[in-house]
Amino acid sequence: MRIPVVCAGSIAVCCVLASQLSAGRAGEGQPGIVAPSEIVVVGDTIPVSLTGLPGDAVRGRAIVLDRAVGNCLICHQVPVPAETFQGNIGPDLRGVGGRLGEAQIRLRVVDQSRLNPATMMPPFYRVDDLTRVAARFKGLPVLSASAIEDVVAYLVSLKQ
């Protein structure tokens, strides 16, 4: 168990990490959490929140920017001028909340390959059909259900 080491600095961080990790552990059997295996896709959307609750856009923004968590700027641009060297492999996310609805954005963050099998965008909430995953990430989605909802809330807020 790595949690005690990670937590050496801060109890608060510890709680967040612990809850993310356990939610992340596939969310299997967690009341109210939709596990990666339980995702229901309707057209090009996932209509239902993975936590049953709305996400928090402020937390979502932090996840998108953090290189150790979402690391989305490695491929995308967002309207945060202080972040230099934003990537351009994926589309610019400025205005994405105007182009796409919440349920559409959710599917794209969960697993873009359901729409485009050849996509470069990593699946952020999927645990199967992956090869040679590093031991410490095996069986875990990149983001927890609540982190996905936070990211979705932030992207929905990017109206222009």
């Binding site: 990537g87 485009n116 090869t131």
Partner: protein, 279 residues
């Protein structure tokens, strides 16, 4: 923006395009069986191979171009000294068998990895150096990333600087080549990306502060400014594995050496540029 997002319907309608992309990426899918039957020569490689240094900033290019400023030259100088140092139980030096490296080792590194006829194993230049140490000098092998092995590797690479790659991929090398190609084209890691998706499909794109190159290997071993030291090709490969959150293989692991062979073939006639300098 490199790829437009197709709707589900467009995706279904454009299945031919998807098949094409699958075949380029070598993704397990519709064309998998076809790829497996491909002759080695049929695999894709960049139409116009480009040295890694050409994707670096002007300042980094200048650093590499000037032997007086290129920090990697310190290892080359060290390697030159080691070449003549007696080693092992028999106190034999490399020069004792091979003489002047600028003559005997010219073009040698460009031919690696190579199958060892005695054992059938695929050896990269590091493994070949260690084979000499163990078998001919009765010395212990040098550890990967040790200063001595890096120095000898850099010294040998410089003897091929400016010369084109010349690796064999048929006969006993064919199986290694195929497994290297599979490694290159298979999506891997928690982020589910293949080498080819970055180094074939996204060349020139920005990945944060990096410009994605063709992933050519001719600059390695190389001095990476981020590391503040010279590193082997396998150290560079491990950084890419880490980036996609895939298993980070051991230095010298057979999978990376097979991948090295595929990458060397992929460079076609591209001249070696080691010792490189990178961001």
């Amino acid at each position: 923006m490199r790829q437009r997002m197709p709707s589900a319907i467009e995706t279904a309608a454009g299945i031919a395009a998807v098949i094409l992309v699958c075949s380029i990426f070598g993704m397990p899918g519709l064309l998998h069986a076809v790829r497996a039957e491909d002759a080695p020569g049929a695999a894709s490689r960049p139409a116009v191979p480009r040295q890694g240094i050409t994707f670096q900033s002007k300042a980094t290019q200048a650093l590499q171009a000037d032997d007086g400023a290129n920090p990697a030259m310190l290892w080359v100088e060290q390697g030159e000294k080691l070449w003549s140092v007696p080693m092992g139980a028999d106190a034999k030096s490399c020069a004792g068998c091979h003489g002047d490296a600028t003559v005997s080792m010219k073009g040698v590194a460009a031919g690696y990895p190579k199958v060892d006829p005695a054992t059938g194993a695929l050896l990269n230049i590091e493994a070949r150096i260690n084979k000499c140490l163990v078998e001919h000098q009765h010395a212990p092998p040098l550890a990967y990333e040790s200063q001595d092995l890096l120095s000898l590797t850099a010294y040998l690479s410089v003897q091929s600087r400016g010369l084109p790659r010349d690796v064999q991929i048929d006969g006993p090398a064919a199986a290694y080549f195929n497994s290297g190609r599979t490694f290159f084209t298979t999506r891997q890691g928690q982020l589910n990306l293949s080498c080819a998706q970055c180094h074939d499909d996204s060349v020139g794109a920005k990945l944060r502060g990096d410009t994605i190159s063709q992933g050519q290997t001719g600059g390695w071993p190389g001095y990476r400014l981020e590391w503040q030291t010279l590193g082997s090709l396998h150290r560079r490969l491990r950084a890419c594995s880490l980036g996609v959150r895939a298993e980070i293989l051991d230095f010298g692991s057979p999978d990376y050496v097979a991948l090295e062979l595929y990458l060397a073939w992929r460079a076609k006639d591209l001249p070696l540029e080691s010792p490189g300098v990178r961001r």
